[in-house]
């Protein structure tokens, strides 16, 4: 059968079982939008191409399937860059299809021509400029395979307009032609046994569980391993929910804003069972002081992650689901011999946990603490809901405070920290989970304003997401750094809480909007919002702008120095300032100078990098 390239694109997507595409039309991709009308695909018309790729990510996060987006050339393709980079960092399977100017015009700076292959090379797992119409089905099949296998990631296909318009005899490729791409699936048997040997003799083992377990759908296997060997578990920002928070061995989240006990557990551990995690700087802090006593087992499907940041004792390359299954099998074979004696260790951790809870206070003044808002959201929407966060303080509080109960219940942008992720990603996630599962975006007021135009897509396509804005009227996370590291010199971090008026904004979109300004209103407002399941809803929660996220390990600092509260920080800061002033006076005296010069105050905290080597969140 003769088909056009454009028809071949649609047909290939259908062959692969793709059901939804997020996109935005334009000149170069127009040929593909014509057969789309008949195709067995749902198209969600976003309002900005960044929304298309984040929605595809949200869809992939929630479903485990490849999220697909399709946009035109030039500015549309460049609008994808942030989302592709986000998907690369968080290993999200995404297939992006971009139109390109006619192949005869490539290189001539034609209208809406951009070097999309070059621009997206460093932000994709793989990309390809399709140079013949016959290549379309094979390119799409391979791209889909690369996106979803091994370490998942974004793959982009750039298809020139003339190639979309040419015709050829349709043929679906029987084979993948990828001689250089063969991800390892099974772990090496000896290494698996070595790993179990190490676990068996460990005194203070900890499972360091990362997002790779979620990608691999390895929740059940992890649970078996943890139960069989009675291992304490920390779950990274990308892995929240891979083991339920109420599991007796669950210690919460490690890292810069992690739970105290999770951070301590890694610092004191004599063995890290690292599963699908990558020793990210936001987890390790100063690498030289991270988990200093621990041997390391590292399971990852990407060999390049193993040994990248931390030397490893037992490396295991393979799919997390398969390898954790192998670990369980070997442990089970060995019976009691494989089970380490962790009773004392777990008792110790239980004490640390009890002694160091999150320090959350809700004063009676009525002003809503953001943490109270997060708890109210969870109380209203419950464990069934999927929660999608933006980037900032609200994200950290959500990750800390919601008692995660299952994988894929928590969706956020970890590696890239992309503000604006939540609104479109929540829309994509809702498309994936369907009518019966509520999807709640827990967004910041700053983040929300980066991509809220996508609410129009939610309204138009009847995608009932609840958008809860934790509205502190500030770029809270950045302001927190200004409070702590820049002597409270707040530079450009205020956003008027009432601009825009989010209830009026809801009205403008023709959807319900609610506002909670006091603790008294919070519960009823959330209940009202949760009762609406057939329409998008915006909830404006006005919260205390001054609240800061703790615990905190300052960027680049040692995880041995966890600051648990603002009070503790102030005490330290005052001590440091006093100490520095004393030293300066002494130095001045010795140099024969007068009193202290107030103009050259030292940074508030000695040892904390003001020039953060990793950049701000």
């Amino acid at each position: 059968m003769q088909v056009t390239g454009a028809q071949a694109v649609m047909r290939s997507l259908e062959e692969l079982g793709v059901e939804v595409v997020f996109g935005y039309p334009g000149g170069a991709i127009l040929p593909a939008y014509d057969p789309l009308i008949e195709a067995d695909l749902t198209h969600v018309l976003v309002r900005h191409e960044q929304g298309a790729v984040h929605a595809a990510e949200g869809y992939a996060h929630a479903s485990g399937k490849v999220g697909v987006c399709i946009v035109t050339s030039g500015p549309a393709a460049t609008n994808l860059v942030t989302g592709l980079c986000d998907a690369l960092m968080d290993s999200v399977p995404v297939l992006a299809i971009t139109g390109q100017v006619a192949s005869t015009a490539i290189g001539s700076d034609a209208f809406q021509e951009a070097d999309v292959l070059g621009i997206t090379m460093p932000v994709t797992k793989h990309n390809e400029l399709v140079t013949s119409v016959e290549r379309i089905p094979g390119a799409i099949r391979e791209a889909h395979h690369i996106a979803s296998s091994g370490r998942p990631g974004p793959v982009l296909l750039d298809i020139p307009k003339d190639i979309l318009n040419q015709s050829f005899e349709w043929a679906w490729p029987e084979h993948l032609d990828l001689p250089g791409y063969r991800p390892t699936v099974r772990g090496h048997g000896r290494q698996v046994r070595d790993a179990i040997d190490l676990v068996a003799t460990a005194k203070r083992p900890v499972v360091y569980a990362g997002g790779g377990l979620v990608r691999a759908d390895a929740g059940d296997e992890l649970r078996e391993l943890v139960d069989l060997l009675d291992l304490p578990v920390v779950t990274t920002l990308m892995a929240r929910g891979i083991i339920p928070e109420d599991h007796p061995n669950a210690l919460g989240m490690p890292g810069m804003h992690g739970h105290y006990v999770a951070i301590r557990a890694l610092q004191e551990a004599d063995l890290l069972v690292t599963l699908g995690a990558r020793f990210d700087d936001r987890v390790t802090g100063d690498l030289a002081h991270f988990a200093p006593h621990a041997k390391v087992i590292h399971v990852d499907v990407d060999p390049a992650e193993i040994g990248k940041n931390r030397a490893v004792d037992v490396p295991i390359v393979g799919d997390a689901k398969v390898v954790v299954g192998q670990l369980v099998a070997v442990a089970r074979d060995r019976g009691d011999e494989a089970v380490p004696d962790t009773a004392a260790w777990r008792d110790h951790l239980a004490t640390v946990k009890a002694d160091h809870p999150l320090r959350v206070q809700q004063p009676d003044t009525g002003i809503i603490k953001p943490q109270t808002a997060i708890r109210a959201v969870h109380a209203a929407f419950g464990d069934e809901a999927v929660y999608v966060a933006g980037v900032g303080q609200h994200q950290m509080w959500a990750s800390q405070l919601v008692p995660w109960s299952r994988p894929r219940q928590w969706i956020n942008s970890g590696g890239l920290g992309t503000m604006g992720f939540a609104v479109p990603a929540a829309i994509g996630a809702k498309v994936a989970v369907g009518r019966d599962v509520p999807v709640v975006a827990i967004d910041g007021d700053g983040c929300f304003q980066m991509t809220f135009q996508e609410i129009a897509a939610a309204v138009q396509h009847d995608i009932p997401v609840t958008f809860v804005v934790i509205n502190n009227g500030v770029l809270g996370m950045v302001r927190q750094w200004q409070s702590l590291f820049y002597a409270s010199r707040m530079s450009e971090t205020t956003l008027p809480q009432a601009v825009p008026d989010l209830v009026l904004l809801a009205e403008a979109y023709g959807i319900p909007g609610f506002r909670a300004e006091s603790v008294e209103e919070l519960e009823s407002v959330m209940a009202k919002a949760a009762a609406i399941t057939d329409q998008p809803v915006i909830v404006d929660v006005r919260v205390d702008p001054d609240e800061m996220v703790f615990p905190m390990v300052p960027a680049g600092g040692s995880n041995d120095a966890v600051i648990e509260s603002a009070d503790e920080w102030m005490t330290m800061a005052i001590a440091d300032v006093t100490e520095a002033a004393t030293q300066r006076q002494r130095a001045n005296r010795e140099a024969g100078l007068g009193g202290a010069d107030p103009s050259d105050d030292p940074p508030l905290i000695a040892g904390a990098d003001t020039d953060d080597e990793f950049g701000s969140d």
Binding site: L117, M121, T131, H145, L178, P179, G180, Y181, A304
Partner: protein, 174 residues
């Protein structure tokens, strides 16, 4: 910093060189030289990359290269167990009276005079970096007009070859 010689087989596809050089610059790895050319299999190109890096980072370089979909195989060639060669051409100022000296010099080094002109002589020399390095200073006395080097190419000594036990077979998967 140490240098390491990597021999890399890649699918012969447009953009593959950009992927490799992009990966190096993005991760701030240091390329000393890079030479690329076809092989006996038209679908496959072979690159020789000399990287300046310590052993820990070398492992990362190899792993990150391996992640590129079009990269088929990578081996590190130990200098003592491989033949490493580079081609260099040097054009020096030389009038008729200096030509004989330059011809003699070329002969001593096993180099070749590849072009002569009223005012210049161009000498080509192939060999390892040390050998190239010995000729250049002697030519400086004449005034070097321009020079060009090809970058190192390398091949294992003995009966071993990059295609041994290889994943190279461009077979179809799945």
């Amino acid at each position: 910093m140490q240098t390491h010689t990597l021999s890399v087989l890649v699918e012969n596809r447009p953009g593959v060189l950009a992927r490799i050089s992009g990966m190096f610059s993005r991760r701030s790895y240091n390329i000393h030289s890079l030479a690329v050319g076809p092989t006996d299999d038209e679908r496959v190109s072979r690159l020789t990359i000399v990287v300046g890096t310590d052993p820990v980072h070398l492992e990362q370089v190899i792993k990150q290269l391996n992640k590129l979909v079009h990269v088929l195989k990578i081996i590190e060639l130990d200098p003592t167990e491989s033949v490493q060669m580079e081609l260099q051409m040097v054009k020096v100022s030389a009038d008729a009276s200096q030509r004989a000296d330059l011809f003699a010099l070329a002969e001593v080094f096993g180099a070749e005079v590849v072009d002569v002109d009223a005012d210049t002589v161009t000498i080509a020399i192939a060999g390892n970096t040390a050998r190239l390095g010995r000729l250049a200073p002697l030519l400086e006395a004449y005034g070097i007009r321009e020079m060009v080097r090809s970058g190192t190419v390398a091949i294992a000594r003995g009966d071993r070859s990059i295609t041994d036990g290889s994943r190279l077979r461009l077979q179809r998967v799945v």
